[in-house]
Each structure stands twice: as C-alpha cells, then as structure tokens.
C-alpha cells in the first residue's frame, strides 16, 4: 500500500498544520512537547507504536473490514436453532431506525434538560417493562442478564441479611460462573438439582436446602433448558416460608403468554432484553433488567439508575430525574449499592420501541407462535430414530433439549454434519450438563418456520440413518 502522507485526518479537524501552529502560538507553546513536560522521560515511549499500517481512504477501509467479515457465515445464510440466551428474533426495521438516530446513538450522559428525549424514552422503557412484568419499579438497564441476576441475588442478600442463595442447577454454566464470582464475598451459591424426568426444579431437594440462612431462591422461567417452571408458585411459597425471597429470571419475549413472576408472588425479577428488538451481534447486544414492587426497602437496594417522572414549572410539561440518587455509587462512591456506570441505555430505548410496536397482541402472538413451533419441533424431532427429547411432558417455551445418544453418535458430530447441510443445530450441552447425554439445546424463535423445522427433522433423519 502506498505511504499516505496527507497530514489532515478527516476525524481530526485541528490536524491541519497551519491551525496547529496558530493554536500553539495562541497558548505560547513552542511545540506539542511542552504539554507533556509533566510526563517523566523514563516512561516516555521512545518509538512509534508498533501498529498495522493505517488504511486512510474510507473506501479502502471498507474493503479491508468487509474482506475479514466475509469469512463469517451469518445466521441469515443458514437455518439457525442457536439460542441459549442470545436469540435470532426478528428485529423490526423501526428498532434499527430509532437506535441508529444520531441523537440517541451518539449522546451520552446529558442532563434532564438537553437530553430530555433519552430520559423520556428510558422512562417509557421502564414503564412498558413494568406492564410486561406487572411491576412498579424497573431499572435503567445494566449490562446484561448475568449482571442483573448477580445484582438481584445481592439485593436479596442485603434485604434479608442472609448469605446463602439456592440456585437451580439448570442455569447455564456461564451464568453460574458470572453470578458466583460476582457475589462470593457476601453470598454463597448452592445448586438445587432439577428433575431429570421433567426438567423442572426438584422441589423436595429445594425444601431440604431451605433454612433460616437462605437469602433467596433463584430460578429461571423458562429454564435455560427450555421447560416452563410450572411449579413457580410453589417455589415462591417454599422460599417465603423460610423467610427467603424468590428471585426469578424471565425471558421477556415469552411474557405475552407466560404469567409474570410477580403474579405468582416472586419478589425480584431479572433477565436480558436481547430478545426485544436486538440483533444477536455475536452475543454482544445485551441489557439487564431488574424489577420489583415499589417497596422502599427494595428500591433503596438497586444500584442502577431509576428514572422517575416529575412536573416542571410549566403546567402539563413532563420532566424526569433520578429517583433516590443517594443510593448510587455516583453519589457516594463505595458507600453506594454496588456500582453504576455506562451500561446499555440504547438497547433499553430499542426495547421500548419494540414493545410499543408489538403491543399486547403482538407479544401474545409472538409467544403463541414460538410455543407452538417449539412443540412442533419437539414432536417432529422426537419421532426421528436415534433422537430422544427429554422432559417432553413438561410445557416448554421456545427451547428444548435434544439428545442424540440413542443413535450412538456424539452431539458434536451430528452438529457438524448438519452444518454441512446449512443448519446450525444448537448449543452443545455435553460439557455443562453431562447427565443429559449427547445433548443439544435447540431454540425455535418466530423466524424459524415449519418448513425450517421439517428440513431439520429430515436432515437429522438422514444424518442419523
């Protein structure tokens, strides 16, 4: 590539040599070096950084990055049944339109006056999530559902003054890892097995572990492995009987058809908003929600920002501000609740757009379709020789486990064979759930059609023949 000596960089207006000289003159500096006089010589880098030769022409840069990305196969180029917390839901065009708006995309932490728009959009996010969850309090999103879960467990521990947390063993290994490392100075996580017949939490095992030192019971609905926790109300009752809180992680895309945990008595909800209008982004687009009733003892334990609605001096005008700001680390550093920082606001706004587009009936249609197609896939695949679908008698949401061990094949070899046929089968569970055999977690979102499922079943039959 030609050595590009053009001095003015398009992203750096004051890279124009004459401007630099004039500005140096204006401040009485002989050179830029004057400004670095406080940096001792012994820690000055005495050579240029060793970085790739820059690609300064925009068209060349596009070619370069696109050439790298051309090595990828997107889930649009295959039939994908991958889920496990990152889903290929349809992203309505309006979601991308709004979150690409420069006013939202490039803004940051402005005040309620000049950035009124983000305050209102995020208040509406909180409010629509509140309707989905039937909760009066929902936070401005934290990074992701893992972080939300870790914080929800910590909140329960602070509220109860207890340090044991019981967690379903069906929670993904990655999520357990995050929560465990995040809470361990203050909370001990203990796993509760799930029933290998039903995929649901083992209530007897739960009861045996509950005691006066338990801060909370943490379950997911639907569970990571797909079954719906139809004993949710009983889990909550058992937790409460022991003086513990019930913390429930929910998939918000299912709440058009599933009752929110609040309706069966849970205390704190959490989860990830990736299913609500966000692309998969290689697992890089997440936002964590935490929700509860409007009980001040709970509200004061949130680390997150909570945008509240207030009046202005003009009648009818709406303003916003931070509710109970003094609980945050922004206000009182280490005396605050955990910490708060830049997290996922744009994705919160996107989820708000999504929920407004979907409306009540859209969320119901979405859940209905996914449950039906997932059950259809369970039925079709369950009839393929060599495949077992465990937990089949339990109602499932949009995911389910498929075990190929009856075929004598490994999950990875079946996945590889299907990949050859343009199908991404699902998530290999053999490492994190060895008790389930050669198991794969299969996700059926609304973008997966009956035809896609039929093709998967046919391909499985062919591969396992």
């Amino acid at each position: 590539m030609r050595d590009d000596q053009r001095s003015a960089h398009p992203y750096i207006p004051n890279s124009i040599p004459d401007v630099r000289a004039a500005m140096l003159g204006a401040v009485g500096a002989a050179s830029i070096e004057d400004f670095y006089a406080g940096v001792p010589d012994e820690i000055r880098l005495q050579r240029p950084l060793d970085l790739p030769t820059p690609i300064r022409a925009e068209s060349d840069l596009v070619r370069h990055v696109q050439a790298l990305l051309a090595q990828n196969t997107s889930t649009r180029d295959a039939i994908s049944f991958l889920g496990g917390g990152c889903y290929q839901h349809h992203v309505p065009a309006v979601c991308d339109e709004i979150n690409s708006r420069s006013e939202f995309l490039t803004a940051y932490a402005g005040e309620p006056y000049e950035d009124h728009g983000r305050f209102q959009a995020l208040f509406e996010y909180e409010s629509m999530m509140g309707e989905l969850l039937l909760r009066d309090v929902v936070n401005v999103p934290v990074y992701d559902g893992f972080q939300a879960a870790g914080t929800a467990v910590r909140m329960a521990s602070r509220i109860t003054g207890r340090r044991r947390a019981l967690m379903s063993a069906s929670v993904s290994a990655d999520k357990r890892s995050k929560i465990g490392d995040y809470v361990r100075p203050d909370v001990d996580i203990e796993l509760v097995p799930f029933d290998l017949e039903t995929g649901r939490l083992d209530l007897a095992a739960l009861q045996a572990r509950l005691g006066p030192d338990v801060a909370c019971v943490f379950v997911e609905n639907p569970g990571y492995l797909g079954p719906i926790e139809i004993d949710g109300p009983e889990i909550v009752r058992l937790a409460h009987a022991a003086g513990a809180l019930a913390v429930v992680s929910v998939d918000p895309s299912m709440l058009g058809v599933l009752a929110p945990p609040s309706s069966w008595g849970a205390d704190i909800d959490c989860g990830d908003i990736q299913p609500l209008g966000l692309h998969q982004h290689f697992g890089g687009a997440n936002g964590g929600f935490i929700a509860s009733d409007d009980d001040p003892t709970v509200v004061m334990e949130y680390p997150s920002r909570l945008f509240g609605i207030v009046p202005t001096v003009v009648p009818g005008e709406i303003g916003f501000g931070d509710v109970a700001y003094e609980r945050t680390s922004f206000a009182v550093r280490e005396e605050g609740k955990e910490w708060v920082g830049t997290a996922a606001s744009l994705w919160g706004i996107t989820a708000a757009v999504y929920l407004a587009l979907m409306g009540p009936e859209g969320m119901r249609d979405l859940g209905t379709t996914m449950m039906a197609r997932a059950r259809y896939a369970m039925t079709r695949l369950g009839s393929v020789p060599g495949i077992r679908v465990p937990f089949a008698a339990t109602p499932h949401a949009k995911e389910f486990v498929l075990d190929v061990s009856p075929s004598g094949r490994s999950a990875s070899s079946v996945s590889a064979a299907l990949r050859e046929r343009g199908i991404f089968l699902g998530i290999d569970l053999t490492q994190e759930q060895p008790g389930l055999g050669e198991a794969v977690l299969v996700a059926v979102t609304e973008v997966v059609t009956q035809d896609d499922i039929d093709r998967l079943a046919d391909a499985c039959a062919e591969v396992l023949q």
Partner: protein, 532 residues
Amino acid sequence: MSAPEKTSTAADGFPIEAKPWPRRFHQASWDEPIIFDLSVPGARGVLPPLPEPGVTALVGDPAAELPEAIGRATPPALPEMSQMHVVRHFERLSQENIGVDLNIDIGQGTCTMKYSPKVNDQLVSAPSVADTHPLQDPSTVQGTLEIMWRLERMLAEISGMDRVSLQPGAGSSAIWTNVAMIRAWHESRGESDRRDEVITTIFSHPSNAAAAKVAGYRVITLYPDADGYPDLEALKSVVSERTAALLITNPEDTGIFNPRITEFVRVVHEAGGLCCYDQANANGILGITRARDAGFDLCHFNIHKTFSTPHGCGGPGSGAVCVSAELAPFLPRPTIERGEDGLYLDNERPLSIGKVRPWYGVTPNLVRAYAWVMSLGAEGLRQVAETAVLNNNYLMKKVLEIRGVSAPYASGQRRIEQVRYSWEDLTRDTGIHSEQIGFRAADFGTHYWTSHHPFVVPEPMTLEPTESYSREDLDEYTAILAEIAREAYEDAETITTAPHSSTIHQINHTALDDPDRWAVTWRAYKRKHLAG
C-alpha cells in the same frame, strides 16, 4: 469574546444580518405525551407470524394449555399503536436529545466525547456482524475472531501489556474485572485473607472504589496534595501488608499528569500489592506513555471513549482489560487463541475468574474500534493524543480569560486532555452555582458537566475537548461560557430561571426522594397520583 471574523456582515442588513455570537438556539420541544397516552385500542405496530396450519394441526395451541397460574390470562397493557406513530413518537424524542453529532460536546468532561465515524456504524450493521450467534462453530466466525484478536494485539501494544480481554461491558465492568483478577491472584498465592485493602484516589472514577468494595475490600481513598497530585506521602502512610492493590487514574480528571507515578507503583509493589491503571483518561497519552512502562500490572481502556465508539445515551459501551503475563491466567474465559485450524475460543483456563458478561464482549463496538485504529495507525493515534492535548490547553487558555473561573492546582502548568475548573469566584461574587451554569448552557445547545461527587474542587466544571473539535468549536464553546458568566454578573435571573429554550423548563424534583411520590413507571405514577 468576539465573533469569528469570517462571520458575514452586511452593512445594510441585506440580504442577511450578521449572526449573533454565540448563536441563538432553540431545542425541539414537542410536548410529547407519555407513550401510553398515544394508545388506540386495536392498533398494531408490527405483526409477528402466526403458527402454520400444519403446526397447529400437530400440536394445537400449547400456550392456551398452560396451567392457570403460569399462563397469562390478560395480555400486557402495552400501548397499541400503528407503526408510523411509533416512529413519530420516538423520532420526536430523539429530537429532544443532543448527541455528539449535533453539539460541541466538550462539556461532558472525562467522558471523551469524540466523533464516531459513520462508516464504522455501517460496517457493524452488516449481517456478518449483527446476525451472528456467539456459539456458531468457530469456523463460521473466523472474521470476527480475527478482528477481535487483532484488536487485542493493538491494545497490548498501546498499553505495553501482554494479554488482553475484550469481554467487559464498559469501563466500570472492566474495573470490576480487574479487581476480580486482583482478588484471584492474591488467592492463588494464599494471601487473600491478609490482603483486604484497596487504595484509590478521590479523583479516580467512583467505580474504582465501589467495585473494590463489592469484591470485599476495605477502600482507602487518597486525596490530592496541595499541588493537585495524588499524595505520595499519604500513600506511604496507608500502604501495608494488607494492601491488595492500588487503583489509580493518570492523568486524573484534573488533567494533571502524576509525574511520580512510578514511585507510587514501586511503593505498592514493595508492599506486595498489585497496581492497576484506570485508563479512562488515555486519550491524551496514546503513544506517549504506556501502563506497563510505568510498572502497572493491569489496566483497562474504555473502548467507547478512547476508541471512538458511540456512547448510546449511556451504553452499550465496551471495555478492555490488559494485563502482564503474570496476571494472564486470571483473565475472563474464554480467551481467543490461534491454533492450527485458525482462531478458537479457549474455555479451559483453570485460574480464570470466569465470566464477567455473556459471551465475549460488546462485539459491534469492538469491530468499530478496530476500524477506527486501522484508519489511524500509530502516527494517527499519536495525532489523536497530541491534538486532544493541544485542544485542551488552547481551551484552558481561553476559558481562564472568563471572569469568575479558575483551574485549581498546578497553577501555570500545562494539562493533558481535560481540566476540572472551578467557578468558586463567580459563585462568591454572584451566588450562581456551577450546576445552574449547566442549566443555562442547555439554552445554547450544549452539554455541561460539573464533576463526580464529592465536589473536591468547589463549584466544579469539567471540560474535555478531545481531538474531534475544531478551533472554531472551542472558541464557540468558550463564548457560550463567557456569555453565561456575563449574565451571572449582570443578569443573574436569566440563569436562575434557566433553561428557557431547551425542551422543558425547570424541573420540580422534590418527588424523586419521596417514596410516597416517586414514580419509576407509568403504572406507579397512575397508582400514586391519578387514583381516585
């Protein structure tokens, strides 16, 4: 401050009079209702697919067959809107928001508000980034892994460190990741019970102190000495065999580079502690000085700040942690490794702290950051740093000409990339506080930020002009501050009643700290304020 000379002036006022300086501004003010008030029963915004007849024939309607307690009887009371009305509502709200693209965004000091190239936004909206799943077989995502691997090497070179993880969700997440690695490192040496203290400075981001506390540490906070430097003597008096780590920023938000930083590192190392460098303020020192060269064991970058990715109204950001070889085994899993069949994700890391977030990081921002560095190269990054510093010192000279403002500490010295100013003199003279200046700044279409709490610098204002702003931009922002300062002395009521031309007027915020009246959702508002 006078208007720039190139502003046209027509002697007879025709065809157009010269523009006033600073410019007149009025923000969009749509008086937009809360979205629930826009609901029209029966309206639909987007239609999801329905199950095919063949699906229904085989399985019926499983959702309808859920047990009563677990199925949802009544759909969520979301607004019902046709598609255009959703678009209109949110586009109106977007107009009531000011991004970097619209304003001279130097008033959100320490936030490193720089231009995010549009071409990078386009690149990451492609299906090859946006529509890929993190658990696709690695052979099908070699492009993304290659970009992440290369970005890690770039950040290793920029920091001088050996290994990098791109997993943290943003700056505070990266701080947490480093603290978790510090804890794991001491545990691996059997010293975690004894080493239960973390030392930080008051000008470091609050999350340094807060994350250390969450990790179980007692937090010791150093205050600046009379010259504004972190106090070395104070450090020596608190460092001990209980010290797990020093978490420090350099330059701090004062913009003053701590010239004794290697001495800080030495003192802590001699006591057996680790040294962790919060590089949120790296923009002025890219290619000038490196964390490892000053002896640090760990550091982090805010990808969304220094490496140009858009800030998204407060995220998604992106964070990177960079460590010495000794700390590398403790990095979050998986790491990206290069094997015979290309790049792969290594989860078999027994000393790893595990996961700090799902999957591997905020991928779209990592691709953007890679493209940004590639557009600049070593010389370009140096130009970024030098221009950010030139802009800052130019701005400081201009701002300090304004009545009532000062730059505490290190008087007469140059600063790196930002300055924490003080309006203490103006407040004493006029009774106008820094926060009120911010409200008035909104009337000129700009952001303004005081400081993190506590306000160590009285009546603080923090400005960081980055490399993205032109000399004219800096002059314009200065003119706005000068005009507000003039008003403070001559027409204080204009400030005390501000904002006047923003989207809304002064907020009555008393309800925000009152549990009986605060309302975090519309349903809470209706319950508390509209019932009966």
